[in-house]
Subunit: 462 residues, 2 copies
C-alpha cells in the first residue's frame, strides 16, 4: 500500500506517549495514534478512577467500623450513579476529551491525530486511520506506547458469559448487589474492597490458595488473613464453566461447586498489547510470550528507529514507571549521543486495597536468596501512639537493611496510609541514607503516624 | 531542714524525665519526683489522648461529609463514655500506672519515687514527700523536667466560673451538648474539631481576629477561612466576665454580648512550671516571664549540676523536642567532657485539627525578613490525582527553597495526612538534599498522595 503521509515522529498510544511532544519537538511533524480514549489506561480505566472509587469505599468502610472507636454510624445509601457521574463525566472524560481536542487543535499544528488501530505493515510503516478513512503512514522515528489490556482466560472468553473487566466495571449504570471477582492480584483486591465497602456481596474465585503471592511473604500472609474474614473466598480452584443465568452469572468450579452473582469481574492480570501491532512486519522482536516488545536498556526495539515504553515493553506495569521510561525515551530520541538507561531502580508500588499495601526494593526472601547479610524489623502500627488512636491491629512496617552497609534494601508496608508512608523510605534508598542516621538524625513528629517508620528503623539490629 | 537522703541524681518530672535512667545509671542512686501521673503531659493529658479523640472525630466528620463522594451516611450516636473508657482506662492509665509501678518496683532498686510537689529550699536541695511524709533530699546532679500547665487568665480563674482545661476536658463523664472554647492556638483548634465532629455545638472566643497566627500566613489564612464556616466564631473580643448559670456557663464579652454553653474549655496556651519550684533558693535563673528556666546550649541551668529540659525550659513546647533534649541532657550528664547541644534544628510540628496542619522550617515572612533569595511554590492537593479522589478543595503544600543553593528552607502543609506527608520534607532538610534532585531522582507512586509533594517540588522555580 502506498504511504499517505510521512512524519518525523509517530507515537502509538496516548497514555505516557502523549507526554512525549514537548516544545523541543515543535519543528517535527508528528502523528499520534490512539484508537481508544486519550490518556490511556491509567487515566481512563486504571490508577486514577480506581483510587476515586477506593477513597469513597474507604469512607464507607470507616463509617461502618467507627463503632469500635465510639462513633456509631452507618451508611444509609451509596449513590453509585453519582460516583460514576463524578468520576467519569465530571472529571476523567473531560480530561481525556480535552487532551484529544488539544492535540487536534491549533495549539499543536505539527501534530496529526489518527483514531484507528495501528498495525505495522513494513519497516517504519503503519496502517491506521482517521474515522472511516484508512491511512498508511511512515515515520523516521516511531515510539510504541500501546499499553496493555485485561487478560481473559478462554474458559470465560469462549463461554459467552457476560463479564466485565477493570475497563468497564466502574461505568456500570447500577451497582450490582453481588459480584464474583476472578483473580488474586492487586486489581482483584482493589475492586473487592471497593465493591464490598460500597455494599456489594463479593465472592473471590482464584486458582491459587494464596492471593497476592508476589509481595513479601509476611505482607502476603497478613492480607490473606484479613480478606479471609471479609469475603466469600473460593481459592485453590479453577473455573471449569461459566454461563449467564436468570439473575446474573454462574461459574462452575473444578471442585464441582458453583457460585452465582449478579455480575462477574475478570481481574486475572493484564497483558501487553505487543501482539496486536503487526510487530513482525516491522522487524520488532517480542518476548517469548508473544506480547511484550523487547527493548534494550535505552528503550530501543530490535527495529532501527523504533522505540517502546510502558506496559507494552516494560517489566513493570506501573504508570509511574511508564512516565519515567517516557522521559528517558524522549531524551534518548532527542539526544542519541547521550543515551539514558530506562529507570528501573528503587521502583515502588502500592495497592489501594484495605488496608493499603506499599512496597519498594527486595523482599526478605529475595534478599536471602542473594546471600545478603540482612537485618529485618517488623514494626506494628499498633505499638506506636497513632496506631493506638486508630486502634489498629493488623498494620505493620517491615524493613530489610544490609547489616554491613546500613543501607535499606526493601520496605514492605501494610496498613493505613501505607502509600504515603513509603515515600520516606524510597527517599532513604535513593539518596543512600544509612538507616541508623535516618532514625536518629531527624525529628519525627510525636505522635504522628511516621513514628511507625521511626520505630521500624530503630528496631533494625546491627 | 536536715536532708533525709542524698542521691547521685534527682529527676523532677516523669514526662521525658522518666526516660533518663538507662542501664548506664544503674550504679547511681536516683530519686524521681512526680506529683501527678507518671508519663507527664503528653501521655496523660496531651498529645497522645488528644490524637485518640481526634481520630474518632475524623471518622465522625468523614461519615457526615461522605455524601459529597456518593456515600450517604450518618452518625447515629457518639458513645463518649466508651471513648473515655477506651482511651484512659484501657490504655493511658494502664501505661501511667505501669510506669510508676516499674519505678517503685524491684526492677529499679536504685530508684526512689517521691510523689509530692518538689520545691528547692537551697542549692541542690529539694523539699518533697512520699504520701503524707515530707522529705528533704539532695543530689549531686539534678535534672528538672517539670513541664508546663494550662494558662488560665485571671478573668476566668478569679470569677469562680466552672471551667475545664485540656487536662480534664477529655475525662468528662458526659459529652457536653455545647462548649465555649477560649483561645486561638493549636489546643483550641484541636478540641474545636473533636467536639464539633462528635456533635457538640462549639463557640470559639478569641482575643485576636485571626487564630493560629504564628504559622505561615497562607496556612493561617486558609484555616481561618475554614473554621469561620464551621464554628460560631467570636473573635476580636476579650472576656470581661464569666459566671455559672443554670445550664452551664455564661461569658460576657467586651463588646457587650454574652455567650452561653453547657461547658467552658480554657485553651489560652500553656506556661512553664519554672515558677513553682523555688528556683531562686537554688540559684536557678528564670527568663523574664518568671516561669521558664534559663538553660545554655547544653541544657545547663545557672546552678552548677542542675540541668533542665522540656517544656519547663525549652523554646519549644513539643514532646518530640522534649525527648530529644532529654537524650542530649542524658548524654551530657554522663559525658561532661563531650557536651552535645540541644537539638533545635529543623523542628517540625503538627496540628491535628481538620484539616491537619504541619510545618517545619522558616515561614515565607521569616525567610524574606532574613533577606534570603527564595523560591516559593503553593501546590494544591486538588490538582493531583489523589486530591481528586478526596475531592479536596482546601489543602495545599507550600514550599520555600533557597534559590541559590536549592535547599529547602521551610514547608507548610494544610490538608489530609499533612502530619505524615511532612516527614519526607523533614528528611530533605536534614540530609541536605537539593529540592530539584528530590523531585526527579526518586519515584513517586502514582497516584498516591505524595504526588502533591512531588508537584510542589517541581513547581519551585530556579
Amino acid at each position: 500500500m502506498p504511504v499517505d503521509k510521512h512524519y518525523s515522529l509517530i507515537i502509538i498510544g496516548t497514555g505516557s506517549g502523549n507526554s512525549i511532544p514537548t516544545p523541543e519537538f515543535d519543528d517535527q511533524s508528528i502523528a499520534i495514534i490512539e484508537e481508544g480514549r486519550f490518556g490511556g489506561t491509567c487515566l481512563n480505566v486504571g490508577c486514577i478512577p480506581t483510587k476515586m472509587y477506593v477513597h469513597a469505599a474507604d469512607i464507607a468502610y470507616e463509617t461502618r467500623e467507627g463503632g469500635a472507636l465510639g462513633v456509631h454510624g452507618h451508611v444509609d445509601r451509596v449513590d453509585w450513579p453519582s460516583i460514576v457521574e463524578r468520576v467519569f463525566h465530571k472529571r476523567i472524560d473531560q480530561i481525556a476529551e480535552g487532551g484529544e481536542a488539544y492535540r487536534r487543535g491549533p495549539e499543536t499544528p505539527n501534530i496529526d491525530v489518527y483514531d484507528q488501530h495501528a498495525r505495522f505493515i513494513g519497516p517504519k510503516t503503519i496502517e491506521t486511520g482517521q474515522g472511516e478513512e484508512r491511512r498508511v503512514i511512515s515515520g523516521d522515528t516511531i515510539i510504541i506506547a500501546a499499553g496493555s489490556r485485561p487478560q481473559v482466560l478462554p474458559v470465560i472468553a469462549e463461554s459467552g458469559v457476560t463479564y466485565h473487566t477493570s475497563e468497564d466495571i466502574m461505568r456500570l449504570p447500577e451497582q450490582p448487589s453481588s459480584l464474583i471477582i476472578m483473580g488474586g492480584g492487586y486489581i482483584a483486591l482493589e475492586f473487592a474492597h471497593v465493591f464490598d465497602a460500597l455494599g456489594t456481596k463479593v465472592t473471590i474465585v482464584n486458582r491459587s490458595e494464596q492471593l497476592l503471592r508476589t509481595v513479601d511473604q509476611d505482607v502476603s500472609q497478613r492480607i490473606n488473613e484479613i480478606i479471609a474474614q471479609r469475603y466469600d473466598m473460593r481459592t485453590g480452584v479453577e473455573v471449569s464453566a461459566a454461563r449467564d443465568v436468570e439473575d446474573g452469572v454462574e461459574l462452575t468450579l473444578d471442585d464441582g461447586s458453583t457460585v452465582r452473582a449478579e455480575a462477574l469481574l475478570v481481574a486475572t492480570g493484564r497483558i501487553p498489547n505487543g501482539d496486536l501491532l503487526g510487530a513482525e512486519a516491522a522487524g520488532i522482536d517480542l518476548h517469548e510470550d508473544g506480547r511484550r516488545i523487547v527493548v534494550d536498556d535505552y528503550g530501543r526495539t530490535s527495529a532501527d528507529g523504533v522505540w517502546a515504553l510502558g506496559d507494552v515493553s516494560s517489566p513493570y506495569l506501573l504508570k509511574h514507571v511508564a512516565n519515567a521510561e517516557m522521559r528517558a525515551v524522549r531524551h534518548n530520541v532527542l539526544h542519541p549521543e547521550d543515551l539514558r538507561p530506562m529507570p528501573h531502580t528503587h521502583v515502588p508500588a502500592a495497592i489501594f486495597t484495605h488496608p493499603q499495601i506499599a512496597t519498594v526494593g527486595l523482599t526478605e526472601d529475595e534478599a536471602r536468596e542473594k546471600g545478603l547479610d540482612i537485618t529485618v524489623k517488623i514494626q506494628n502500627y499498633g505499638d506506636v501512639a497513632y496506631g493506638w488512636a486508630m486502634e489498629d491491629t493488623t498494620g505493620f512496617v517491615k524493613l530489610i537493611a544490609d547489616r554491613s552497609t546500613g543501607k535499606l534494601l526493601g520496605a514492605h508496608l501494610i496498613g493505613p496510609q501505607a502509600s504515603t508512608l513509603i515515600q520516606q523510605l524510597i527517599t532513604l534508598m535513593v539518596f543512600d541514607i544509612d538507616v541508623r542516621d535516618a532514625a536518629t538524625s531527624q525529628y519525627w513528629i510525636h505522635p504522628a503516624l511516621p513514628e511507625v517508620i521511626e520505630n521500624a528503623l530503630l528496631g533494625l539490629e546491627f
